[in-house]
C-alpha cells in the first residue's frame, strides 16, 4: 500500500472526490494555482480545471457565504480556510447560517459543505497561526466537527465529510502534515513506516462519529484528538501505564459508546487537547464522562490542555501539553 503524509492524503481525498462527483468544487485563498500554502491541493487545478479548483479573494466571510449559496443550489463545495485562526470572519456565516439553514427552512434547503482548515501549534506560528478553535464550533448544532490526526484518517474523514449532506468543519493538525509529533520539537520524524501512513490510493471512508482506539490498555483512558494523540501516545509509553488511547476523530457527534466502554473498563480518564482549558472541548468530555460513568470513576477526570492565554511564539513548548505533563496526569489518576 502506498505511504502518504497528511498533505498527500488530503490531496488524494480531494482528487478522488473531484473525480467522482461533478458537483464537488474546491476553493480557498491560494488554493488554486499555487495548490495551497501547505500544498494540499497541489496539481488539482491543472488536473480538474480552473472552474473546479480555484483561488478566491482574501475573505473568509465571503468564502463561507458563497459556499453556502453553492451548497443550497446543488453543489457540494469544499472550502479551505488557510489557517484555522482566520476562520473567525466566517463565524457568523457558519454558526448562524450554514448550521441552521436545513432546520430554519423546514428541510427545504440544506448545505452539504465541507470546510477544511489547518489548525494547532508547533510550527512557531505565534498566536495567530497556532490556534485550535474546535470547541468554538462544537456549541452550535447543525454542523459536524472533525479533527484528524493521521494520513489514514485525514483522507477517510475528509471523504466522509464531503459525502455528508450536512456541513462539516474539518480541522487538520498542521504540525503533523509531514510527520507525527511526539512532543519533542527537536525530533522531526516523517510519516515513513508509520502504520497510519499506509493509505489506499482509492476511495475509502472513515465514518463520522466514530473514534479510533489508537492504543489499548486497562488502567486509564486517555481521550485526545489532533496532534495531541501522538504526544499522548508518547506519554503513555513513557509512563508505562496500560492505557486506552482514544483518538476522538469526530467531536460532534462524539463516539459515546467507545468512551463509555473504555471508562467502564479503566475507571480513570485523562483528556488531552492543545486548545486553552476553559471551555475547551475537554470540558464537554469531562462533564459528559462524569455524567455517564460517575460510579465507575476512581479518580477525578484530568484535563491536560493549552493554557488560558494566547498561544505564544518563542515559548510554544511551554504552552503545548508535553509528554511529561500528560504522563503526570495519568500517574495522578492512578494514585487514587
Amino acid at each position: 500500500m502506498p505511504e502518504m503524509n497528511i498533505v498527500q492524503a488530503v490531496n488524494s481525498a480531494l482528487d478522488i472526490m473531484l473525480e467522482r462527483d461533478p458537483d464537488v468544487i474546491f476553493f480557498g485563498e491560494d488554493a488554486g494555482y499555487f495548490g495551497g500554502v501547505f500544498r494540499t491541493s497541489d496539481g488539482l487545478q491543472e488536473k480538474h480545471g480552473k472552474h473546479r479548483v480555484f483561488d478566491t479573494p482574501l475573505s473568509e466571510g465571503g468564502i463561507a457565504a458563497i459556499a453556502f449559496g453553492m451548497g443550497i443550489n446543488g453543489l457540494r463545495p469544499v472550502a479551505e480556510i488557510q489557517f484555522a485562526d482566520y476562520i473567525f470572519p466566517a463565524y457568523d456565516q457558519i454558526v448562524n447560517e450554514i448550521a441552521k439553514v436545513r432546520h430554519r427552512s423546514g428541510g427545504e434547503f440544506w448545505c452539504p459543505l465541507t470546510i477544511r482548515t489547518p489548525a494547532g501549534g508547533g510550527i512557531r506560528g505565534g498566536h495567530h497561526h497556532s490556534q485550535s478553535p474546535e470547541s468554538q464550533f462544537t456549541h452550535t448544532s447543525g454542523i459536524n466537527v472533525v479533527y484528524t490526526s493521521t494520513p489514514y484518517n485525514s483522507k477517510g474523514l475528509l471523504i466522509s465529510a464531503i459525502e455528508s449532506n450536512d456541513p462539516v468543519v474539518v480541522f487538520e493538525p498542521k504540525r503533523c502534515y509531514r510527520g507525527p509529533f511526539y512532543g519533542d520539537p527537536h525530533n522531526v520524524p516523517t510519516w515513513k513506516d508509520h502504520p497510519e501512513a499506509e493509505v489506499p490510493e482509492a476511495h475509502y471512508t472513515v465514518p463520522l462519529g466514530k473514534a479510533r482506539l489508537a492504543m489499548e490498555g486497562t488502567e486509564c483512558t486517555v481521550i485526545s484528538w489532533g496532534a495531541m494523540v501522538h504526544v499522548s501516545e508518547q506519554a503513555i509509553k513513557n509512563c508505562g501505564i496500560s492505557c486506552d488511547l482514544i483518538d476522538l476523530q469526530t467531536l460532534v457527534p462524539w463516539d459515546k459508546d467507545a468512551i463509555i466502554k473504555s471508562i467502564e473498563k479503566t475507571g480513570r480518564c485523562v483528556i488531552v487537547h492543545e486548545a486553552p482549558k476553559t471551555s475547551g472541548f475537554g470540558a464537554e468530555m469531562a462533564a459528559s464522562v462524569q455524567e455517564r460513568c460517575f460510579y465507575h470513576l476512581e479518580a477525578p477526570i484530568e484535563r491536560v490542555t493549552g493554557w488560558d492565554t494566547p498561544f505564544p511564539h518563542t515559548t510554544e513548548w511551554d504552552y503545548m501539553p508535553s509528554p511529561a505533563r500528560i504522563a503526570d496526569a495519568i500517574m495522578k489518576t492512578m494514585e487514587e
Binding site: I25, H51, T56, P57, S59, G61, G62, A65, I66, A67, F68, G69, M70, G71, I72, N73, G74, L75, P77, P89, D92, Q93, N96, E97, K100, V101, R102, H103, R104, S105, G106, G107, E108, F109, W110, S141, G142, N144, S164, N165, D166, G209, P253, W254, K256
Partner: protein, 415 residues
C-alpha cells in the same frame, strides 16, 4: 509627542434630516422619465452606467404617463396582474398586522410602500430564477403562485407551517417557487446569493439569482463580499439595495456617507442603476435589463431601489418616536399602488370602480385564507407543530445526542 487640543471640537455624528416635531421636506427627484438612456445590456461597462448610478431611472411620471427608453411596454394584462399582486400584498399585510395585535402572530413586518419592489422585479424574471429575499420581499411569493393559506400558516406558526414554527413570522421558505429561506441576520443573503449564482453558472444553467439588502444592512461585511465576489467571478446575480431611507430608527445618512448607494457598485466595476422604487414600470425594466446581462454571461448588476418605508419597521416599533408622523406624505415618490392605478386609468385600462372591486375581491380572498389558516391553529391558541420538530432537520439524520435529548424532552413537553 502628545498632540495639542484643537479649537474645533469633537466627533462628527450626522443627524437625521427630520425628527419628530420637524417638518419633513424632500428634494424632488432630479431625473424625469426619458432622461437616462437604456444602454445595451450586453457589453455595457460599469462606467457607461455612471449617470444611472447617480441619477434615477424612471418610466412613470406623476401624471401616470409612461415614457422613455426604459418603458418595458407591458401589456395591460401584465400591468393588472402586477397591480393585483400589490393590492393583495397590502391587504394581506393589514390583515396580518391586525392578527398580530390580537396575539395570533408574535410579530409582523409589512412591505407597506414598497410593494412594487419584490413584485415588479420577480415578474421581470424567469420562473427558474432564484429569489433570495429579506423580510421585505414576501410579495415575490404571490408572483410565484404561493397559496396565501400556506403563507398565513407560517406566520401564525400553526401545525401546517412549512417551517414548523421554527422561525419568526415573515421568515418564509418556499422552495417550489425557488424562494430561498429568509434569515434574520441582515445582509447574509446578499453574499450567499452570489454563491447561488456561481452554482448556476458552474452548472451552465440559464438561471440567475436575485437578492436584496436594506440601506442600513449594506454596512455589513456581507455587502462587500457580495459585490467583490460578484465583480471577480461575474455570476448571474442581481444585487438590489433597497434604500427605503430608514433602518429602524436610523436614517440612511448614518448607513453610509456615500452620495448614492448605487454608485458603490461602480467602484467594483459592476454596472449600477438607481431606480424609482415606487415606479412599477421602471423597476420591471431595470430588472429585465439586469436579467439580460445575467443570461448573456455578463455577470452582476447592482440596483439601488429608491423608496420609502411607509410604515413602522415592524410590529415592535412606533416610528413617531423617531421621525415626523407625516414624513411619508412628503416623500416625492408617492405610493406604488396609486401610481400604477393612475397609469392604468390614464391608458384607459382601469377605473376607480374596477379598483374598488379588485380590493373587495382580494380582501375576501385574504379573509377566506385567514379563516382557513386559523382552522389549523395559531400562535395564541395552538395547535402548534409538535415540539418534536425541535429535533428534526437539525441534521439529515438525528444523531445520538439529539435523540437522547429528544427522549428527555418528551418527558417534559408542555404540548
Amino acid at each position: 509627542m502628545a498632540a495639542k487640543k484643537k479649537k474645533q471640537v469633537t466627533l462628527h455624528v450626522p443627524s437625521a434630516p427630520f425628527r419628530p416635531g420637524d417638518k419633513a421636506s424632500f428634494a424632488l427627484f432630479e431625473n424625469e422619465p426619458g432622461d437616462l438612456p437604456r444602454p445595451n445590456p450586453i457589453k455595457c461597462t460599469a462606467s457607461e452606467t455612471t449617470d444611472h448610478a447617480y441619477g434615477l431611472v424612471r418610466v412613470l411620471d406623476f401624471d401616470g404617463n409612461a415614457s422613455g427608453p426604459w418603458d418595458p411596454k407591458l401589456t395591460p394584462d401584465e400591468l393588472r396582474e402586477g397591480l393585483e399582486h400589490m393590492v393583495r400584498m397590502r391587504i394581506f399585510d393589514d390583515r396580518m398586522m391586525k392578527m398580530q395585535r390580537t396575539g395570533k402572530l408574535s410579530f409582523y413586518m409589512r412591505s407597506f410602500g414598497e410593494e412594487a419592489v419584490a413584485i415588479a422585479q420577480t415578474m421581470a424574471l424567469e420562473n427558474q430564477d432564484w429569489i433570495f429575499p429579506t423580510y421585505r420581499q414576501p410579495g415575490a411569493q404571490f408572483v410565484r403562485g404561493r397559496d396565501m393559506v400556506s403563507m398565513i400558516n407560517h406566520c401564525i406558526g400553526n401545525v401546517e407551517d412549512n417551517v414548523k414554527g421554527r422561525q419568526m413570522p415573515v421568515h418564509y421558505t418556499y422552495r417550489d417557487g425557488r424562494f430561498i429561506s429568509v434569515s434574520s441576520p441582515v445582509g447574509t443573503q446578499f453574499s450567499q446569493a452570489v454563491g447561488v449564482a456561481m452554482a448556476s453558472q458552474y452548472k451552465a444553467l440559464d438561471e440567475c439569482c436575485i437578492t436584496w439588502i436594506g440601506d442600513g444592512s449594506s454596512a455589513e461585511g456581507d455587502y462587500h463580499y457580495a459585490l467583490n465576489f460578484a465583480s471577480v467571478f461575474k455570476p448571474p446575480v442581481i444585487l438590489n439595495i433597497v434604500n427605503n431611507q430608514w433602518a429602524i430608527s436610523t436614517h440612511a445618512n448614518l448607513a453610509s456617507g456615500n452620495p448614492t448607494f448605487a454608485a458603490r457598485g461602480l467602484a467594483y466595476n459592476v454596472p449600477s442603476m438607481r431606480v424609482d422604487g415606487n415606479d412599477f414600470l421602471a423597476l420591471y425594466a431595470v430588472t429585465k435589463w439586469a436579467r439580460q446581462r445575467a443570461a448573456a454571461g455578463e455577470g452582476a448588476t447592482h440596483i439601488e431601489v429608491l423608496t420609502y418605508r411607509a410604515g413602522a419597521h415592524s410590529s415592535s416599533d412606533d416610528p413617531s418616536r423617531y421621525r415626523p408622523g407625516d414624513e411619508h406624505e412628503a416623500w416625492p415618490g408617492g405610493d406604488p399602488v396609486d401610481r400604477l392605478v393612475q397609469h392604468l386609468v390614464a391608458i384607459g385600462e382601469w377605473s376607480e370602480k374596477q379598483q374598488k372591486e379588485l380590493e373587495e375581491r382580494v380582501d375576501g380572498e385574504v379573509m377566506a385564507a385567514y379563516k382557513e389558516a386559523v382552522t389549523y391553529g395559531d400562535l395564541a391558541n395552538g395547535p402548534y407543530p409538535s415540539a418534536d420538530t425541535i429535533f428534526t432537520e437539525v441534521y439529515e439524520e438525528v444523531p445520538w445526542h439529539l435523540q437522547e435529548q429528544w427522549d428527555e424532552m418528551k418527558k417534559w413537553s408542555v404540548d
